[in-house]
């Protein structure tokens, strides 16, 4: 009989060792160690099968392929779709090559992104914002026109801003796997690719609203929430209800006493584990519909926590310090310093000073 116990393999990421079951991707192994070594991911989404390998945000350097074949991999590999091998050594944040490559990835992702964050409803919880902020450079070298599309309605509750789309395919996989029949996908190829509904079919599946949560940028947004409030002014609260269609575990976003938005709960990596139905999302916007569990756990450095916690609790974001450290320049202080002041003693000023205070110095 075959041994069905999972075979454990040893992977080293940024010098930290972890034991994972065989078949785990490098990215998943890194996430097991913790957020300090986990590569960022724009397209990979654990609950959706088949995602990953599109955005190249999670590129890592493999310095030793495996125990049996310790040669390094010739190129940087996408950690979300590369399986970890026994004895593999991976460099993520410790490799300057990876950090440099990620700057390039940010630049590519932002080539056609309109940077209309002040208008976009996703601002504040946008993965692309976080990604470019932490891994990108400040400027752009792109001078050509960005591609533009008209904004489109997918059903009466979802708004598609194709301009903002980074073609991560997450929503397509959601439609494929959560809904029974897919009515939207990616049309055309290359630079012309766009997310579209086939013949503008409205999505009337009960779980179609989850595309909003799954979208890492502001391409798919909730029409009922459109321009209602900025994310950081609303107060997120975990709540649940008895729903016959879904788990009923959601986050309510309050403005004062009013629920302005209902979303699914996201985990540490910004992924929704339990999808919620459209009834919960769009139709239950009264506090009386829900049992409130307590405030949502927000990362302290997130803008969502702005003005909600006392100063002592707020952990200052590390990128400012990182940026300062990057741009730190040693002060040029190799000027010869003559302790005997021989040069100064030659000057007329010094002599005059000494003559003036002769009494004092003679003591």
């Amino acid at each position: 009989m075959e041994n069905i116990a999972p075979q454990l393999i040893k992977v080293t990421i940024d010098g930290k060792e972890v034991q994972v079951p065989a078949g785990t991707s490098i990215l998943e192994a890194a996430r097991m160690i913790g957020p300090e070594v986990a590569p960022p991911a724009m397209c990979y989404y654990k609950p959706l099968k088949g995602t990953g390998g599109k955005c190249r945000a999670c590129l890592v350097k493999v310095t030793a392929g495996s125990e049996k074949d310790p040669r390094p991999m010739p190129k940087l590999v996408a950690s979300c779709i590369t399986q970890a091998q026994d004895g593999m050594k991976v460099e993520n944040y410790s490799s300057p090559e990876v950090i440099e490559a990620r700057k390039g990835v940010v630049e590519f992702l932002l080539i056609n992104h309109p940077l209309d964050c002040p208008v976009c409803d996703q601002a504040g919880e946008c993965h692309l914002q976080d990604f470019s902020f932490e891994h990108g450079t400040g400027g752009t070298r792109f001078e050509e026109d960005r591609r533009t599309f008209e904004r489109e309605d997918i059903g009466d509750k979802i708004q598609l801003h194709m301009n903002r789309c980074i073609l991560c395919y997450r929503c397509v996989y959601t439609a494929d796997q959560i809904t029974n029949k897919r009515v939207h996908g990616v049309m055309n190829r290359g630079d012309h690719s766009e997310i579209s509904t086939y013949i503008s079919n409205a999505i009337d599946n009960d779980f179609s609203g989850n595309m909003i949560d799954v979208c890492p940028v502001g391409a798919l947004t909730d029409k009922t929430y459109r321009f209602k409030n900025r994310v950081w002014f609303s107060k997120p609260v975990d709540a649940h209800c008895d729903c016959e269609k879904c788990s009923g575990k959601v986050t309510l976003w309050y403005r004062g006493e009013e629920v302005i938005r209902v979303t699914a709960r996201k985990n540490q990596w910004g992924e929704v584990e339990e999808f919620i139905c459209n009834t919960c999302r769009y139709d239950r916007k009264k506090t009386s519909d829900w049992t409130i569990e307590g405030p949502m756990k927000v990362a302290r450095h997130s803008v969502i926590s702005a003005n909600k916690y006392s100063n002592k609790l707020v952990e200052k974001p590390s990128f400012a310090l990182k940026y300062a450290a990057q741009n730190y320049k040693e002060v040029d202080d190799d000027r010869p310093y003559d302790k005997n002041l021989s040069e100064i003693k030659k000057s007329e000023d010094y002599k005059a000073l000494m003559a003036k205070n002769e009494e004092f110095f003679s003591k």
Binding site: C117, V119, W232, N307
Partner: protein
């Protein structure tokens, strides 16, 4: 007890003949007074005349319009989140067709309020604004008020008047630096 070296010793010696005559000294004193009539005055007539406070003085807020008269503010809320006194609040609205000449972006501030009682004129809103919409005027103070209702400034008091546009000698720190260098 002598506190400073600057105190003048009173001259208590006998007056000379010229001094006892008294009138010449009066004339000398009047001369000094008369001289001051023709000297440059260090004071100004304040409410009518105003001193230039420099290009970076931070006073009354203004919501700028662009060259075509459209409001620049897109109600992104960055000024409000940057505000240490939490003086700013706003409500966003979507621009509808036919309003393109009023608002520059597809979203605009339907209401924009600054509580001048809370405002500390630190200028962080100006610094946070990604659309170069909110500025603190260098030429205008927030006037005195007599009731609390007057202190909450709405869009009617904040948005720039196209007939009386707000111009500044220097909009950025770099421009200001050049200006200072020129004055030196």
């Amino acid at each position: 007890m002598q506190l400073t070296d600057r105190s003048k010793k009173t001259d208590k010696s006998e007056m000379t003949l010229l001094e006892t005559l008294y009138l010449p000294e009066i004339a000398r004193g009047m001369g000094i007074t008369l001289k001051h009539f023709f000297m440059k005055k260090p004071t100004i007539r304040y409410p009518e005349q105003k001193r230039y406070l420099g290009p970076v003085f931070r006073g009354h807020h203004i919501l700028k319009r662009d060259e075509q008269g459209r409001e620049r503010c897109t109600a992104c809320g960055l000024c409000a989140v940057a505000c240490p006194a939490e003086a700013i609040s706003m409500v966003a609205a979507e621009r509808v067709k036919g309003e393109e000449h009023l608002y520059r972006e597809e979203k605009y501030a339907a209401a924009y309020e600054i509580n001048m009682l809370r405002c500390i004129f630190c200028g962080l809103c100006e610094e946070a604004c990604p659309k170069e919409a909110v500025y603190l005027r260098h030429d205008k103070f927030v006037p005195v008020f007599t009731s609390r209702e007057q202190v909450i400034y709405g869009k009617d008091q904040l948005v720039e008047d196209m007939n009386d546009r707000y111009e500044r000698d220097a909009w950025t720190k770099e421009e200001m630096q050049k200006l200072w260098d020129k004055q030196k």
